[in-house]
Each structure stands twice: as C-alpha cells, then as structure tokens.
C-alpha cells in the first residue's frame, strides 16, 4: 500500500469521523454531543468525494450538517437540556451491550476484511450531477414521486403532532 494523496485524505477524514463519533459517546453535555457529530457528518461528505459522489457529498453537507443538526438543536433547546446526561442504567447492562456490539462488529468484519472485487474504471466522476439527474428522471421516476408524497406526509404529520391542542380548544 503506497502513501498516495488519496490514502492520506482517507486516513484524515476517517480519523475526524471516528473522533466525532467517540466524542458523541463520551461528552456529558447534550449540545456538545450534537456539535461533535457535525464533524462526523462533514468528514463523511469528504469520504463521498473520495468515492466520486460529489452530488451526494453536497447533499450530505446541506441536509445533515445543516438541516438535521439544526433541527436536533431546536429539539434540545425546546425541551429540558440543562441536566447532565448522567446515565442511571447499570454498569452491567452497558457492559453487556458493549460485548454484544463487539461480537456483531467482529462477525461483520470477518465478512468484509478481504472483500476484493477487481476494480473497474468507472465514469462516475464525469458529470456526476447530470448522471444522477438522468437516472432520477428516467429509471427512478416512481420512487422519486413517492418520496415527494412521503415528505408531504411527514410535514403534515409533524405539524399535527406538535400542535398545541389545549390552546386550540381554548380558542374555539
């Protein structure tokens, strides 16, 4: 394995992503956890660029490190957030969960550690956005329209769920 620029970029981005994830697990204040996760999301966008998916990378920056993080911060601010996230769950339960996840990770790692398909020359990096647009509007037009229906249903559903019903009853 040679130390090319791509390898160094992958190592740096993977390191940032993993540090963000570990900070998510170890910090105590809730707001700090969400801010630590922004690093992970931006690093994952960089990984997408390495995998010649520029459009998915920009969508990742817009949706995840923009919209979803802000929505989560809203959720934290609107609820009670000043108490430290002190776990009341027992140490034994945490240890059992950790061991289970370790076993799962080992089982999956056996499957992937020598995954080696011979790499073909791809044209994914040329006019990436145009290729995605063509695929979306020809081959995947029905899932695309279903996604718009799903987003509309989520919009209406979340407004109805979060609506203050007591105040509504007072007005009538």
């Amino acid at each position: 394995m040679t130390f090319s620029g791509e390898f160094l970029a992958f190592m740096g981005l993977a390191l940032v992503a993993l540090i963000g994830g570990v900070l998510l697990l170890n910090l105590t204040k809730v707001v700090h956890m969400v801010v630590a996760l922004i690093f992970t999301f931006v690093a994952i966008a960089g990984i997408y660029v390495l995998l010649s998916a520029e459009f998915v990378a920009s969508v990742q920056v817009l949706i995840y490190s923009g919209a979803i993080t802000i929505i989560m911060l809203f959720g934290i601010m609107l609820t009670k957030h000043d108490d430290e996230n002190e776990p009341k769950t027992g140490k034994l339960r945490k240890l059992l969960v950790f061991l289970g996840i370790l076993g799962f990770a080992f089982a999956v790692y056996i499957g992937i550690y020598n995954f080696n398909v011979e790499q073909e020359q791809t044209a994914l990096h040329e006019n990436n956005t145009m290729q995605i647009g063509k695929a979306l509007y020809s081959k995947y037009i029905i899932p695309f329209e279903l996604t718009s229906v799903l987003l509309l249903a989520a919009l209406v559903g979340s407004i109805i769920l979060a609506k203050n019903e007591k105040k509504e009853a007072d007005d009538e």
Binding site: A67, M72, F104
Partner: protein, 104 residues
C-alpha cells in the same frame, strides 16, 4: 487503480454503525438516541456509495439510493422530534427510561 481498498471504506462504515448502535442503546436523552440513529443511517449510506464505485457492477444506482435514504432520514428526524415535543408537553421529561407508561 485506487490506493484505498474498498474494505477500508466498509470498515469505516462498520465502526460508525457500531458507535451509533451503542449510543442508541445506552444514552438516556431521546434527542441523542435519535441522532445516533441518524449516524447509523449515514454509515449505511457510506456502504451504498462504496458499492456504487467498487462493487461487482459499478453504476450510479448506489448514489441514487443514497439520496433516497437521506430524504427518508430527514423525514424520520422531523417526525421523531414532533413526537418527542408532544411527549415532553405531557410528561415533562426527555429521558428515555422514564417513558414507561405502557409498562404497568
């Protein structure tokens, strides 16, 4: 052709998925549990994009599917937070171990 093997990307996605799973199972605050689920979805997206480049039949389909997964994840986050806020209004708590109305 490429100096980074495909299994390196898959291993990174596996580690991120495990971090998200551990956070979703052990954290107390419901917002953190939701955002851990987002991290798991992100790890799956890395897998989709990796196989769209280094799979047996590389094509754009993996990236299109990653976009669909991102939009579904955004809708899920919005609905999850709406449920959380209406729950907070009635129960005055966001801790996941105190939401046990159905237990007794």
């Amino acid at each position: 052709m490429s100096s980074v093997p495909a299994s390196a990307f898959l291993a990174l996605a596996l580690i991120l998925f495990c971090i998200g799973l551990y956070g979703a199972l052990t954290k107390r605050n419901t917002v953190i549990v939701l955002i851990s689920i987002e991290l798991m979805l992100n790890a799956v997206n890395i897998n989709l994009v990796t196989f769209s480049k280094y799979g047996i039949a590389p094509s754009i389909t993996g990236q299109v599917f990653a976009l669909f997964a991102i939009s579904v994840a955004a809708a899920e986050a919005a609905v999850g937070l709406a449920i959380l806020i209406s729950l907070y209004r009635t129960r005055k708590t966001v801790n996941i171990d105190e939401m046990d109305t159905m237990k007794n």
